[in-house]
């Protein structure tokens, strides 16, 4: 019997597909692997919220048939922090791009990681601002051409796994869209782990980035990620380079430390218990 519908169709929002992403873009892999991870984990889908910022991947919060919020540029994590702190029963997932999360939203990323608030941040890293036509961003590789680095990029890119590890994330992984099963497994690990977890997914942008840097057809860019990737689990994130000749992937951090919303609830219980014992309304009368 021929199956007419995609097996993931019921997990996408009616009327929102087809998506806006170009042929050859890696974002579709991220969408489908996120959905597969959620389904395989048998998470209550009524208790999941997907939050995104602005950019191509930012549309993902509308494509999933879950509670979704499409914030202003860079503010997805800040929104997610408020939602999670107020509603710790909801599983909060942020999916956004490298420019959104690490340029305009960089401050929110490092502080959410520092707090170790329970959420999973998935970054689609395509090295440029694709939606606005391919400008340089915080992950653009050295010497590469974009519409705003017409003579080559003279800035140093962020190493996102190093930044995440240094900021305090308890789980940090990097894969590329050529590592479909690894992406799913890492997202599952991240979603299961309590605390701030980060999965970077290097995703080709043939239309804006690949074209200007003579990276060939979409299939060539896929092959670059497949052939030049080296799995180095738990190697030093400082040395986890991303370049034309080598892309270091794997899991880099998997540690335990107190999670923010749990600490918050514990402190609240202590405060209320003390008031109860002392028979007072407040510790600070007006």
């Amino acid at each position: 019997m021929i199956q007419e519908t995609h097996p993931l169709e019921r997990f996408t929002r009616k009327g929102m597909i087809p998506h806006i992403w170009c042929a050859g873009c890696g974002n579709g892999v991220i969408l489908s692997e996120l959905l597969r991870a959620l389904v395989e984990l048998k998470i209550d889908l009524n208790k999941v919220a997907v939050v995104s910022g602005i950019g191509c991947i930012g549309r993902i919060s509308g494509y999933v048939n879950l509670d979704g919020f499409h914030t202003t540029h860079g503010r997805a994590i800040a929104f997610a922090v408020g939602l999670k702190a107020a509603r710790p029963d909801i599983k909060v997932i942020v999916v956004s791009g490298d420019g959104d999360l690490f340029a305009i939203g960089g401050n929110h990323f490092i502080h959410a990681a520092r707090r170790n608030i329970d959420m999973t941040v998935i970054c689609s890293n395509n090295f440029n601002y694709g939606m606005t036509g391919g400008q340089a961003g915080p992950t653009t590789m050295p010497d590469n051409r974009t519409t705003t680095t017409p003579y080559g990029n003279i800035e140093h890119p962020f190493n996102l796994v190093h930044l995440a590890a240094g900021s305090g994330a308890v789980y940090v992984a990097r894969w590329t869209t050529a590592h479909v099963r690894r992406i799913r497994e890492s997202i599952k690990t991240a979603l299961t782990k309590k605390g701030f977890t980060f999965v970077e997914i290097i995703s080709p942008c043939p239309e804006q980035y690949g074209r200007r840097n003579r990276m060939g057809e979409p299939i060539d860019q896929f092959n670059w990620l497949r052939e030049k990737s080296v799995v180095q689990h738990f190697s030093d994130p400082v040395k986890a380079e991303v370049g034309p000749n080598k892309v270091v992937v794997g899991e880099f951090v998997d540690i335990e430390k107190p999670e923010y919303t749990e600490s918050l609830r514990r402190q609240m219980m202590t405060v209320q218990g003390t008031l109860e014992k002392e028979g007072r309304l407040t510790s600070a009368p007006l």
Partner: protein, 383 residues
């Protein structure tokens, strides 16, 4: 909410603390903020009080994140507040637009100080009142309230939450530094005497819910994340289902007009003013915030000198009490507008009253207008 969460009784305290207690009495259980003079005491009070009443105090990395976090908490079904002053208010404008666009009930307290830029952090001002109306880009409407006493700060903070919930809109409590730091009597009523309004919830099952389909009052019922409605909200122009509509002129027009009209058509139930000795007045003083206190004293002193002065206090700044200005326009010869800026609310008065018969009593920096200073403006214009 438990009765013991409300500190019922008579107190002697400052406006910033009254604001925090008003929020807690209104059911606020989430505060995200960033320290700034002269609003820090609101945050400090919330940091101490919220854990006692089962709420969350969250110190964010900046004011941009504070408003984003509040929107997140509000979509999680929790009443949310922040408090700031000029520089922080400027940073908040981006996500105030997002809150207006996604129809998120939030309350923002702006304890106004001297600007522009860092200005005079410890000195009072009323220089943010136009920013409250126009601060974010695009067309939208908000509600702004301006208390002039510690008691009114408590009462209007409760009302701010009720209005935010009723109209799904950001509401601003525009304190000025004097009201924020002034200490005077505060009576907190028992919880059963405090009116609480909660947002409308959808009455349809998840499959039939359109998150931005308004009722007759132009306000859509609001589901909460995590309830199974699985709905989507975006800062992009969207239709009633919440789906982005980035090309349709019709949808853009429909959405923007409704976001504004839900406040404009309901202005009569939102706008509040205070009146003193207006019935036979020849000259009316218009003021708000701490300046209203001096204005009322000035009017009383003018009457003692035989001058028929009256007072119109703007408790609601936005939507602007335009009808209330018009109502006195044919009765008084002159209007004195007293405010601590270089010309903001006076412009709104000019839209409703002959500008040649308006005296602008402006004061910047240091102390507020004294009753005698305002009295001078009242008397001077009679000559």
């Amino acid at each position: 909410m438990l009765a013991r969460d409300v500190l019922t009784g008579t107190h002697f305290t400052q406006g910033d603390f009254a604001c925090a207690e008003g929020a807690i009495a209104a059911g606020c259980r989430f505060f995200a903020g960033y320290p700034i003079t002269p609003a820090t005491e609101v945050a400090e009070r919330m940091a101490r009080r919220l854990p006692e009443v089962g709420g969350v105090y969250l110190q964010m990395e900046d004011e941009i994140g504070s408003v984003a976090a509040m929107i997140g908490a509000s979509y999680g079904g929790v009443k949310s507040m922040t408090a700031t002053s000029g520089p922080g208010f400027s940073l908040m404008q981006e996500n105030i637009g997002l809150a207006a666009m996604t129809e998120t009930p939030i309350v923002i307290v702006d304890v106004m100080r001297g600007g522009p830029s860092t200005g005079q952090p410890t000195k009072t001002g009323q220089q943010d009142v136009m920013q409250a109306k126009w601060g974010s880009h695009g067309d939208y409407e908000i509600i702004a309230l301006a208390p002039s006493s510690v008691q009114e700060t408590f009462d209007l903070t409760v009302r701010a939450f009720n209005l935010a919930e009723k109209y799904r809109v950001p509401v601003f409590v525009m304190l000025d530094e004097i009201v924020g730091h002034m200490r005077e009597r505060l009576i907190i009523p028992s919880p059963d005497r405090i009116e609480i309004v909660n947002r409308k919830k959808p009455t349809v099952p998840p499959g039939q819910y359109n998150p931005f389909q308004p009722d007759e009052d132009l306000v859509p019922p609001m589901a909460t994340f995590g309830e199974g409605y699985r709905f989507y909200a975006t800062g992009l122009t969207h239709d009633e289902t919440g789906h982005p509509q980035t090309d349709s002129a019709e949808e853009q027009s429909k959405l923007v007009r409704r976001l504004c009209d839900k406040i404009r058509v309901n202005r009569d139930s939102i706008v509040q003013v205070k009146k003193l000795l207006l019935e036979d007045a020849d000259v009316c003083v218009v003021a708000y915030g701490s300046v209203a206190r001096s204005a009322m004293a000035a009017v009383t002193r003018a009457r003692q000198r035989g001058v028929k002065a009256g007072f119109l206090g703007l408790t609601t700044l936005w939507p602007f009490p335009d009808k209330e200005i018009e109502a006195i326009a044919d009765k008084v010869d002159r209007i004195v507008v007293a405010e601590m800026n270089y010309g903001q609310i006076v412009r709104e008065v000019e839209r409703r009253f002959d500008y040649r018969r308006i005296t602008f009593a402006s004061k910047l920096g240091e102390d507020p207008q004294t009753p005698d200073e305002i009295l001078n403006y009242i008397v001077r214009e009679r000559k």
